[in-house]
């Protein structure tokens, strides 16, 4: 008796009990679909985060303030002490200090209410230098970016994100319009092209103004030199490591600290990608693990039904044995049956997973990516679960004595 014949026999048996077979597959189906969706969501989130970090710009190093470990006059919890200033940005932009750095842009940001005529909107004010546009790969769709001259003269000019422009001016051309921030009036000189949203919020809802203007007109902070972060662009990919070391060395020197009590963080895009990947990896593993438990329950369901099936079909088993089926063949028949149950459940689960991925992607806003290797693995796992669940019922069927099997009513 060949494998094809075993498959046919298994199919006949499962088909004869359609409803039960479907319900049994349901357990595997749900488990496989759940695992595929969680893993797919994790993979999609990871891809998305990587893309976002890379879209920040190329050859990028980001310096963020750290908590000062020097507890000033014994006061702990001085965590709001900003350790990064515009002076740091000035030092880093000196070619003598850091020859491998191409451009530096410090950023101070704060939330502010905006008024344009009758429209009001709350957005993020990003105060920076003209280099910010090139360093973060932002392009202008209307008007112009502000220039070094605007920075030097502390002109009251503003460049808007695409969303901000629409919210404030609707379909009107924002360029040349006036914008009130606090009690200061700015002139809109440009609008940036849309860059999509990142996990930290929309990149299209912001107002970019010269840093000098921010310090003179808007800053309420006592330390007007403080910045939230500094973007640094290396000359090219090869000099990124050198730029990283130069940045760290220059800041350690200017802050008069050692690596042990470093009060700033320097990270590269790669490091950010790696950190994000490890976080999404952990979350995916956790959720996938929970989904895998449902798969296990599905497997137990298959075993349960196979046991019921064996005791219901004692007469059939007896007859097959009387007609010359060796115990090994009876075992194989039930193993194949359980395997087919698992595999069919897997097929349905994969279909549901793919369907779910198609439906979920627009809803959650993160692409649910299901790879072919994951699909193949899901099918392999479902077949494996079916076969493993079938081992015990099949060996019970194989061990039935033919006379007992024939005698039972």
């Amino acid at each position: 008796m060949g494998w094809l014949e075993s498959l046919r026999t298994a199919w006949e048996a499962l088909y004869a009990r359609k409803m039960r077979s479907l319900l049994t597959m349901l357990g595997i189906l749900i488990g496989i679909a759940a695992v595929m969706l969680t893993v797919g969501l994790g993979a999609g989130a990871q891809t998305r985060i990587t893309q976002e970090i890379n879209s920040l710009g190329s050859n990028l190093i980001i310096v963020t303030p750290g908590t000062s470990s020097l507890t000033v006059s014994g006061i702990r919890g001085a965590t709001n002490v900003t350790t990064l200033t515009s002076d740091d940005a000035a030092i880093l932009s000196m070619p003598s200090v850091a020859p491998d750095i191409a451009a530096v842009a410090s950023v101070s940001s704060s939330r502010a209410a905006l008024v344009a005529g009758t429209s009001t909107w709350t957005s993020t004010i990003t105060a920076t230098s003209p280099d910010w546009f090139s360093v973060t790969s932002r392009t202008i769709s209307q008007g112009r970016a502000f220039l070094q001259g605007d920075l030097d003269a502390a002109n009251s000019v503003a460049v808007l994100g695409a969303t901000t422009a629409t919210e404030l001016y609707g379909t009107r051309d924002p360029v040349g319009q006036s914008l009130t921030v606090g009690n200061q009036t700015f002139t809109v000189i440009g609008v940036m092209a849309s860059a999509g949203s990142s996990l930290s919020g929309s990149q299209d809802d912001m107002v970019v103004i010269p840093r000098t203007t921010f310090v003179q007109r808007l800053s309420t902070s006592a330390n007007s030199r403080a910045v939230n972060l500094i973007y640094i662009q290396g000359r090219d990919a090869n000099s990124l490591a050198a730029a990283y070391q130069e940045t760290t060395a220059a800041l350690l020197t200017s802050h008069q600290v050692t690596a042990a009590n470093q009060d700033f963080n320097v990270s590269t895009q790669e490091a950010l990608v790696a950190a994000a990947a490890s976080i999404t990896g952990i979350i995916t593993a956790l959720l996938g693990g929970i989904a895998a438990i449902s798969l296990l329950v599905g497997g137990i369901g298959v075993m349960n039904i196979m046991l019921v099936s064996v005791s219901e079909r004692v007469r059939e088993i007896g007859l097959r044995k009387a007609l010359g089926a060796r115990p090994a063949l009876i075992r194989r028949q039930f193993l194949v049956e359980a395997g087919v149950l698992g595999l069919l459940g897997g097929f349905l689960g994969v279909s549901l997973g793919l369907l779910g991925a198609a439906i979920l992607t627009p809803i959650v806003g993160v692409p649910v990516t299901i790879s072919w290797s994951a699909t193949a693995m899901a099918l392999g796992v479902s077949l494996g679960i079916g076969v493993v669940a079938g081992v015990y019922p099949a060996s019970r069927a194989a061990k039935l004595a033919p006379i007992d099997a024939l005698r039972s009513e």
């Binding site: 008796m1 048996a13 007609l323 010359g324 060796r326 090994a328 063949l329 033919p402």
Partner: protein, 228 residues
């Protein structure tokens, strides 16, 4: 002529844990090729146990049993399965057809276990069904056939492997008188073609159609030769 089936001192003891039940207490039996014999006995006489041992569905506790020249009394289940497939065709009281399959598939079953290729299998099953007069019912399922037709399907299934022995256990027990005559006529026909048939029954008129009848009582045989 060597007997096809030769039993010497067959004993079968069931150990229920509390008591030991002796179902067969020393059976000597020989059936020649081409014989048509009946084994009769009331329930509890050991009739079923004897049928199981003749059919290689069970092994004796003591004694030897030779079937077609081979000692089968000490074989493993795996070996017995092959002997059953090759040498014995079963006809049961309950027909024991698989209800989810067509008559044709049911008749093909023993050939599947014999490893016969699909095309050949189908051809042989069709011939067997034709011989029992069911050529026009091959795709019917057992549920769509009358009791007599179902029993004829199981006779076709028993004969399809061309076995040395046809073993029928109360083959007419679930049939009306018309179907009973049908099936017994089929047996007569098979006998005329030279088949060896062992028929287990408790009905006198069924036993009378055979050549020889053994009576079994309390695990012992008493032969009553009635050569017609």
């Amino acid at each position: 002529m060597n007997p096809l089936l030769k039993m010497t001192g067959i004993r079968k003891t069931y150990d229920t844990g509390v008591v030991q039940v002796e179902a067969l207490r020393g059976i000597d039996l020989a059936v020649d090729p081409g014989d048509y014999v009946a084994i009769m006995g009331p329930s509890g006489s050991g009739k079923s146990t004897l049928m199981h041992i003749i059919g290689c569905l069970d092994v004796p506790t003591e004694g030897t049993y030779e079937l077609a020249g081979t000692d089968v009394s000490r074989m493993t289940e795996r070996q017995l399965a092959e002997v059953r497939n090759r040498e014995i065709g079963f006809v049961f009281q309950q027909f024991n057809l698989l209800h989810s399959m067509s008559a044709l598939r049911n008749v093909e079953l023993p050939l599947i276990y014999a490893g016969v290729a699909p095309a050949q299998r189908r051809e042989r099953a069709l011939i067997a069904l034709e011989r029992v007069g069911l050529a026009d019912r091959v795709q019917h399922r057992p549920g769509e056939l009358s009791g007599g037709q179902q029993q004829r399907v199981s006779v076709a299934r028993a004969m399809v492997t061309d076995p040395a022995l046809l073993l029928a256990d109360e083959p007419t027990g679930n049939l009306d008188s018309v179907s009973t005559n049908d099936v017994l006529a089929l047996f007569d026909e098979l006998h005329e073609q030279g088949r060896t048939i062992v028929l287990i029954t408790h009905e006198q008129d069924v036993a009378e159609r055979t050549h020889r009848t053994w009576h079994i009582r309390d695990g012992l045989l008493s032969e009553k030769v009635e050569v017609r």
